[in-house]
């Protein structure tokens, strides 16, 4: 439970952080809340030579409404999101998802940027940002670029971040019109991570039919994914029980669900269907 020796730097600015990462592209890792990286280091599964601690860069922690967008700084903690009155009003999926993460101590330290950049296949945030079709702002020595959440999660613990890049901001289009959201999760009894986690962002037409649905699934596959087939099947329907039941049958299309000691692939597939249905129903019931 003791990591290998490493250097530790606390840059004051994002530019300094980027320079530090560039100084050791192979050995440096970004440290934010530390709730994914530190356990991996203690088990010696991760052995970075340099930790660049960005948690104290004040300019990276914020929750802002700007035009039709919600902007979240990468080091915004789960607790800040969970307790944000603004988000509870304009995008309640985010606080709901935050509340389901770990425990109070974890939520006080852990950050949304750290969580998505780790791309844990059972992390909660990936489901929510996929459902919300978020964009990530990535910054490196070559400047800034944006990446869609869906393109960002590449594989197990792998993202499209290039060596030396830091996730700076998460951008979410502000939900508008008649929308309802929900996050439904089966926590693993030991780890608290999602055995299945389903985030739903539902937008209705004036007549009550489904205009669009964003559905993010975590815990089921090697990485979190958007359940496009379900989204497509829901669009245009009146969201009655039959329509929802038919749509959720597609939640694992093209997916080979994980098997572990707690849940087999078959059971996970079943849970994904049930909880996707429940999350959709819950989101629908919350439409204003």
């Amino acid at each position: 439970m003791i990591p290998v020796e490493f250097d530790y730097k606390v840059p004051a600015t994002l530019d300094e952080a980027i320079a530090l990462l560039a100084s050791d592209l192979d050995g440096a890792k970004v440290l934010a809340g530390g709730h994914s990286l530190i356990p991996a280091m203690k088990l010696r599964l991760a052995q970075p030579q340099l930790l660049v601690d960005i948690a104290r860069i004040k300019s990276l922690s914020y929750i802002r409404e700007e035009g039709d967008q919600i902007l979240l700084g990468a080091t915004t903690t789960h607790y800040q999101i969970e307790s944000s009155d603004l988000l509870k009003t304009i995008c309640p999926l985010l606080p709901e998802c935050a509340r389901s993460i770990g425990d109070v101590q974890v939520r006080n330290k852990g950050t949304i940027g750290g969580s998505v950049a780790h791309s844990d296949p059972a992390g909660d945030w990936p489901a929510a940002v996929l459902a919300l079709d978020a964009e990530f702002v990535l910054v490196g020595t070559n400047g800034e670029r944006t990446e869609k959440a869906e393109d960002f999660f590449v594989d197990l613990l792998t993202t499209s971040l290039l060596p030396g890049e830091i996730l700076r901001e998460i951008r979410i289009r502000k939900p508008s019109g008649r929308f309802g959201q929900a996050y439904q999760k089966v926590p693993h009894p030991a780890s608290g991570f999602a055995v299945v986690g389903v985030a739903v962002n539902l937008v209705l037409n004036d007549d009550g039919s489904c205009k669009s649905a964003g559905i993010g699934i975590t815990g089921v596959a090697v990485k979190a994914y958007r359940a496009h087939a379900v989204e497509t099947a829901l669009a245009g329907t009146n969201l009655d029980d039959n329509a929802i039941a038919a749509a959720v049958e597609h939640v694992c299309d093209g997916i080979n669900p994980n098997t572990d000691l707690y849940a087999s692939g078959d059971y996970r597939r079943h849970l994904a269907k049930v909880h996707t249905r429940r999350a959709i129903q819950s989101a629908k019931a919350r439409v204003q």
């Binding site: 439970m1 003791i2 089966v186 009894p189 030991a190 000691l261």
Partner: protein, 800 residues
């Protein structure tokens, strides 16, 4: 005598220091110049060690020494096993592996370095050349002749044992009906919140060694470690500072404890090792680990006539202190709370390539209770009657105690039906059954589980114990009137610092804040046995009680002398010895110390003033006893008494637990509706402590029933090696407990107490499993093995 404390919900005096983080665990003790130890542990379950290259580690920065099995060979004796069974095979269990490793986590080498980091880094520099050997992890495969683990033996069977009384074959031959079921008790990891830890400091001048260890048995450990490392027992001091939970896992003598002591003697420096959680799951004993078949013979009216349990016990690769004894405890309790004329247990205990099993909260008794209670549910299902009624029919009646069982025990006292009735009343049992029926018609799956357990506590009479079953106490009144209790029991969370002080404060008529309970230091406390088997209060508390009576006899003699009265006319009341006529006046309240704190006189203690007094406080007498200028003839100065209490029998607490759950048809999730427990642990010293013990016990039962399982794969790799995989129940997993009690005093000790430390873990598991099985009864389910996970439930429902 007062009644200010015993029976009251007195807050734990231990808690303020624990809650404020001011308590000291082994790792909180910092000695200058301490070196730190880290272990190289096998990552194979079974392998030959061809060679160990320690060269790079020895020359690594900060490393002071490296020891392998060869280095300590002949210098440290084997890890002890106290099991004394006929024809028991005892492997040569060395503190470090010598030629072979036998389980994942087996210590192979110890690195000593200037800090924990250097020690841990050097572990990675030690190259062990292993040659893998065939692995056996399944206990039945081990019994059937799988790869033989120990070269000294021809097979993996450590022992076979048949026990029980009555004509079992005749019982089955004459039975109207029988039921049979295979039952698994998975391996569990005790997961004490504080892992194990040892700090050893050798004093070369005094030739004395002090070991601070997180243990439940400081004195037994002192004796065993002294023998292992060859230091005179009176030159070894074992101190257990705060212990963050044991649950039986620290009722042991481990390789690391002896090795750290020996290393400190070699290097002349303090050395410390604090177990990591991964080591804790790998190399601290596991509990349970039985695969058995239960058969019950009974009449058509539900009367039980015979019970047979044939079990394979998974001992692991080695014996730890009590490893072989645990399955025999199961055999002792197979009569449960019932009259069963014939009982037979057949044990086949086997070595496997896994960590040793040993005592984990309940230690063999949860297995027995689970088997009997599951068995009675099967009988009820077979007969189509309510499970509570089958139980009621077979209870011994209160006037049948002491009740002799066909397992050879004599239960001390009991009133099982009253506890059952009370629990049913609290639960609203009939109404619950009606709701269940109505719910089923609506498609809801509600289940009700009942367990009417009896357990064995207050371990125990020395005849039944490997190294003494008594407990010791010294009670002394200091010159300032403060009361000091030294108990040989070594409480580690149970709260006896409070409950023993309650007993003493009432018996002596003093304020509880004037009583201090000292334990867990062999340099201070007279020899004791320790805390396990729910024994500390029933045996150790009784020792305190009787020592106080001895002390009071002496105090009475001194009081009589000082008051110049006839002994028969002096009585003790309200903390004062008084002439009869003054007794009533003196009786009010407790007495204060004769020397108030902060006003201690310089130099000589004040002379007690007795002139014209008609009563004397115990503190007056303590002072007189210490100043010793006016004592009766032939009276030793000082005011203290020591007593070693030898119990004549075990005690047998009992109770009824009722669990109510509802199963989610779609997901298999198990939701709590109710949990009712009526426990009878005899007289209660502190109801709050009893509640706390019951709470914790039920929670660990919930863990066993629904979440916990140590999983090894076929190669002996541990798949549940961290708390990310091994699920210990959290607050969100447990229901609200509705607790109550009945109180049937034990005749075995003058306090009438029985013990409650393990009741929850013993009584609750079958109620929980019974409830889940009952919820699934519409699907024809009669038994499910633990841990019952939502997926198991879903599969049953899905199967239709």
């Amino acid at each position: 005598m007062t009644d200010n404390y015993v029976g009251k919900r007195v807050k734990r005096t231990e808690d303020p220091r624990l809650i404020r983080g001011l308590a000291h665990y082994v790792d909180d003790i910092a000695l200058p110049g301490t070196l730190h130890v880290a272990f190289v542990r096998s990552y194979y379950a079974h392998a030959k060690i061809n060679s160990i290259d320690t060269e790079a580690a020895r020359s690594a920065p900060g490393v002071v020494a490296v020891y392998t099995g060869q280095d300590v060979s002949g210098k440290i004796g084997p890890v002890p096993c106290a099991g004394a069974l006929p024809d028991l095979k005892v492997p040569d269990h060395r503190v470090l592996a010598t030629n072979k490793v036998y389980f994942v986590g087996h210590p192979v080498a110890a690195v000593v370095a200037k800090d924990r980091y250097a020690a841990r880094d050097a572990v990675d520099l030690i190259m062990v050349d292993y040659e893998e050997l065939p692995v056996v992890t399944d206990v039945e495969e081990a019994a059937a002749g799988g790869p033989v683990i120990h070269d000294a033996f021809s097979d993996n069977i450590a022992y076979r044992l048949t026990s029980g009384e009555g004509d079992i074959d005749a019982a089955f031959a004459a039975a109207d009906r029988t039921v049979k079921q295979r039952v698994l008790h998975r391996r569990l990891a005790p997961i004490a919140m504080e892992p194990r830890g040892v700090l050893a400091r050798y004093f070369p001048g005094e030739e004395e060694l002090t070991l601070w260890s997180s243990t439940q048995i400081p004195h037994l450990m002192r004796t065993q470690v002294a023998l292992m490392i060859g230091i005179p027992e009176n030159k070894l001091r074992v101190i257990t500072p705060e212990v963050g939970g044991g649950f039986g896992s620290k009722l042991n003598v481990y390789a690391e404890e002896a090795l750290l002591g020996w290393i400190s003697m070699q290097l002349g420096k303090p050395v410390k090792w604090i177990e990591t959680r991964r080591e804790n799951i790998q190399a601290t004993i596991h509990g349970r680990g039985q695969v058995g078949d239960i058969e019950i013979a009974f009449k058509n009216d539900g009367t039980l006539t015979g019970l047979r349990y044939s079990v394979f016990a998974d001992l692991g690769a080695y014996h730890q202190l009590l490893t072989p004894a645990i399955p025999t405890l199961t055999g002792l309790m197979l009569s449960g709370a019932y009259k069963i004329p014939a009982i037979q247990m057949n044990i086949t205990a086997c070595f496997t390539n896994k960590m040793a099993t040993d005592a984990y909260r309940g230690a063999g008794r949860p297995e027995a209770t689970y088997i009997v209670e599951r068995g009675l549910d099967l009988v009820a299902a077979e007969l189509g009657v309510d499970p509570a009624e089958v139980r009621r029919k077979n209870f011994p009646q209160p006037d049948e105690f002491p009740f002799h069982t066909a397992t050879g025990l004599d239960y001390d006292s009991g009133d099982y039906e009253t506890a059952l009735n009370k629990a049913q009343e609290i639960a609203g049992y009939q109404q619950l059954r009606e709701e269940q029926k109505k719910g089923r018609e609506e498609g809801r799956l509600i289940g009700i589980g009942v367990s009417t357990y009896v357990e064995i506590c207050a371990l125990g009479p020395s005849q039944a114990m490997p190294a003494g079953g008594w407990e010791s106490a010294t009670v002394r009144i200091e010159p300032t009137g403060k009361v000091t209790i030294l108990t040989g029991a070594s409480p580690h969370g149970q709260g006896q610092e409070t409950s023993f002080a309650q007993i003493a404060a009432d018996e002596l008529g003093v304020n509880i804040n004037d009583v201090t309970v000292i334990h867990g230091d062999t340099g201070i406390v007279q020899y004791g046995i320790g805390t396990f088997g729910s024994r500390a209060t029933a045996v150790g508390g009784t020792a305190v009680f009787i020592a106080i009576q001895k002390l009071k006899e002496k105090a009475h003699k001194i009081a009589t002398h000082m008051l110049e009265a006839d002994a028969s006319r002096v009585s003790f009341e309200g903390g004062k010895y008084s002439f009869e006529k003054a007794a009533a006046a003196a009786a009010a309240g407790t007495s204060d110390p004769v020397v108030p704190v902060g006003e201690a006189p310089a130099g000589a203690l004040p002379e007690p003033q007795t002139d014209g007094k008609s009563s004397l406080t115990l503190q007056d007498i303590a002072l007189a006893a210490h100043v010793a200028k006016n004592l009766p003839p032939d009276t030793e100065p000082g005011l203290s008494a020591t007593y070693f209490f030898e119990p004549k029998n075990f005690t047998f607490p009992f109770g009824t637990h009722i669990a109510v759950v509802e199963v989610d048809r779609e997901t298999g999730d198990i939701k709590w509706l109710r949990y009712v427990a009526v426990d009878d642990c005899g007289k209660v010293i502190n109801p709050m402590l009893v509640d706390g013990q019951v709470h914790g016990g039920i929670v660990q039962s919930i863990g066993q029933a629904m979440y916990e399982e140590v999983v090894y794969d076929e190669q002996g790799q541990l798949l549940t090696g961290t708390l990310m995989d091994y699920a210990v129940p959290r607050a969100s997993h447990i229901p609200n407990f509705e607790l109550d009690r009945t109180e049937t005093p034990s005749p075995v000790n003058p306090l009438g107490v029985k013990g409650v430390g393990e009741a929850g873990t013993i009584g609750a598991t079958p109620a929980i499993v019974g409830a889940i099985v009952d919820a699934l009864a519409p699907f024809g389910v009669q038994h499910l093995d633990m841990p019952i996970k939502p997926e198991n439930v879903w599969q049953i429902i899905n199967r239709g």
